[in-house]
């Protein structure tokens, strides 16, 4: 397990650099991301992981955003309809691709880390759409689904799970409990709004109070613009005792793709990250719109 090296760094108060975007980086390289490209172009996905490792990332996250049984099943009325008109592999596809996403990250580490400790984080988001807490399943239902997902990524060799773009305390708690029951290190990362609140309207204080007793390893904020992350981080740092971190998105969501802007070139991205380091955050990286160049710039945070 490569997480111990990361844990010791964090324990010593050192900075840990997370990677940047995978999905939008695939798009930026002019390839569709509709099916994650895990089965169709594995070497392409692995290449992006390698670029992030070479850029200095200590933790790389798998190309598995929203990849789960539920996401595929949601395209059908029910099981009967899916079996009638759906592709034959659909019942197994999510788990196969999840495992593949971890394998590709592990392979990238073997080929590009050069002996440097790099951890593979299985990136798992909400079971329903990340920006829509109103769609979330019940905690009981969620636990069953997370258990299946986490077991797959654990068996495939993930060092930790990065629960990202979470939008509610209840789903985060359900997922975290499952991760801990499987002895997986677990970082929980939330999207926040410009008031520094979760998308349910819940406060950072309440979220921290709910998750810290369950043994969360770090709490982060992600998938919001730097300004919103800044607002959230102030709130988070005022309450959290565990390690904190952030990885904002840059550019604009242009569904189903992403619009890249020059608002945050690597140098400015580093400035923002530096201010968060000064505030107390220790895990920093990039979400949608960021590139290996942005992660390379974060190397200055170590000094």
């Amino acid at each position: 397990m490569s997480y111990s090296a990361i844990a010791s760094k964090l324990g010593a108060g050192e900075m840990v650099i997370l990677d940047g975007a995978i999905g939008t980086e695939i798009l930026r390289r002019n390839v569709t991301w509709a099916d994650h490209q895990l089965a169709t172009r594995p070497e392409f996905v692995r290449g992006i992981h390698e670029d992030y490792i070479r850029a200095g990332a200590d933790v790389i996250s798998t190309n598995s955003f929203q990849l789960c049984r539920r996401a595929l099943y949601n395209h059908f009325r029910d099981d009967k309809h899916r079996h009638q008109i759906g592709a034959a592999d659909l019942d197994e596809r999510a788990n196969q691709l999840l495992a593949a996403s971890v394998h590709l990250a592990v392979q990238a580490r073997q080929s590009a880390a050069g002996g440097r400790p790099v951890a593979v984080a299985a990136a798992i988001t909400t079971l329903e759409w990340c920006f829509r807490p109103d769609l979330a399943p019940s905690p009981k239902q969620a636990k069953g689904e997370y258990r299946e997902i986490f077991q797959v990524v654990k068996d495939a060799g993930a060092d930790l799970v990065l629960l990202e773009t979470l939008n509610s305390i209840s789903e985060a708690r359900a997922a975290l409990e499952v991760a801990k029951s499987l002895a997986l290190p677990c970082w929980t990362s939330f999207v926040c709004d410009d008031r520094g609140r979760l998308f349910t309207g819940e406060t950072m204080a309440d979220m921290v109070a709910a998750l810290e007793p369950l043994g969360v390893d770090a709490i982060l904020l992600n998938c919001a613009p730097p300004g919103d992350i800044n607002a959230g981080l102030k709130e988070l740092l005022a309450h959290a005792r565990v390690t904190t971190g952030a990885y904002p998105h840059i550019g604009r969501f242009d569904p189903p793709e992403w619009m890249f802007t020059d608002e945050y070139p690597p140098a400015r991205f580093l400035q923002v990250a530096t201010s968060w380091k000064q505030m107390g955050a220790r895990i920093l990286g990039g979400c949608c719109g960021t590139t290996p160049d942005h992660i390379a710039a974060l190397g200055d945070l170590r000094s």
């Binding site: 996401a71 595929l72 395209h75 807490p133 569904p255």
Partner: protein, 327 residues
């Protein structure tokens, strides 16, 4: 409130419906564009409008006398649904998302009209503006109620009417309520309306509402033709027998071929079908010809079908018509 607007006479459309000849409609747009490598963003209408137009032209050259706008499930909800709310969309979304739908709808009609203008069939082909379910076509549980659907579909229908489609086609309608809404807005914008229902595993609407009841509901609202679509050929064949028994209107169907292979994260319908090679053009044409022989007059292809399928169907229907005459 129901407004009775005079439905514009369309001599070509009227001739198609009143004659006894088969009415050949086109095949799939979305799945075929994706198969050709078009990246499915904004229905290809911003980045690949030339390829959309080219595909329309190929369907016309294959023998289709009705082409459908590339507007399946193109409505403001598909963008709004992936944000927390409208404010969030303005905050982190690309500029212009709120006003994007009408712009794309207009482009879709323009490329269809340009394709027709470039075609030898310029004087004989009609353009159907496609109105689809506002939510995912395979999720009747998410469908809006009648009032909400009517309001939102009316906005779409107005744009399609302004751009001069010849009729509206309510396609893959999965609930009676939304089908009624679509039929009503067509009346409000003065366009003829055809309604096509997506068929579920029970052989009724995907919502499990009885097909017969659905047909009666849209007949009352002035539907000029009734169709069934987006189910495998065998199910379409069975549904057509029910349609035949339920209506005196011209009717027909267009089946999908292969298996729906959705993407692993996206929210709304994504046009990707695999294993379509199990239905080569000749096999599909032979099947659809049987539907014609059993009384269906309006025939085409849904997801997975290509211009080659429509060309094969045109050929099969020619021999079918000869057969009918000599009998």
């Amino acid at each position: 409130m129901r407004r009775y607007t005079l439905i514009a006479m369309n001599p070509i459309l009227d001739a198609l419906l009143s004659g006894s000849q088969p009415v050949l409609i086109d095949g799939a747009m979305g799945t075929e564009l994706v198969r050709r490598g078009v990246r499915w963003r904004k229905h290809g209408l911003l980045t690949d409008a030339d390829k959309v137009q080219q595909l329309h032209e190929e369907y016309l050259a294959a023998g289709a006398v009705l082409i459908r706008t590339n507007t399946f499930q193109l409505n403001p909800r598909i963008y709004l649904n992936v944000f927390r709310n409208r404010q969030h969309m303005r905050h982190i979304g690309a500029p212009g998302l709120e006003d994007l739908t009408p712009k794309l709808l207009r482009t879709s009609v323009r490329v269809a009209r340009q394709a027709r203008a470039n075609s030898a069939k310029e004087k004989q082909a009609v353009i159907a503006g496609v109105l689809a379910p506002l939510e995912h076509c395979f999720r009747p549980d998410l469908a809006p109620g009648f009032e909400a659907a009517r309001g939102e579909q009316l906005e779409l229908a107005r744009v399609l009417a302004e751009e001069k489609v010849d009729l509206l086609l309510g396609e893959s309608m999965n609930t009676i309520a939304e089908a009624r809404a679509v039929a009503e807005v067509a009346g409000a914008v003065g366009l003829p309306i055809w309604i096509s229902f997506v068929i579920g595993p029970e052989g009724e609407l995907l919502s499990r509402e009885p097909l017969e009841q659905a047909i009666r509901a849209v007949e009352k609202l002035g539907a000029q033709a009734v169709l069934v679509n987006c189910a495998p050929p065998a199910e379409i064949g069975r549904a057509l027998a029910k349609v035949k028994a339920a209506t005196k209107l011209p009717f027909g169907g267009f089946a999908h071929i292969g298996r729906f292979s959705p993407p692993s994260w996206k929210f709304e319908f994504f046009p990707q079908f695999s294993e379509t090679e199990s239905w080569p053009p000749e096999r599909y044409a032979a099947e659809a010809r049987r539907w014609h022989d059993d009384g269906a007059r309006i025939l085409g292809g849904c997801c997975g079908t290509t211009p080659a399928h429509i060309a094969a169907l045109a050929q099969a229907l020619k021999t079918s018509a000869k057969g009918a005459k000599s009998a």
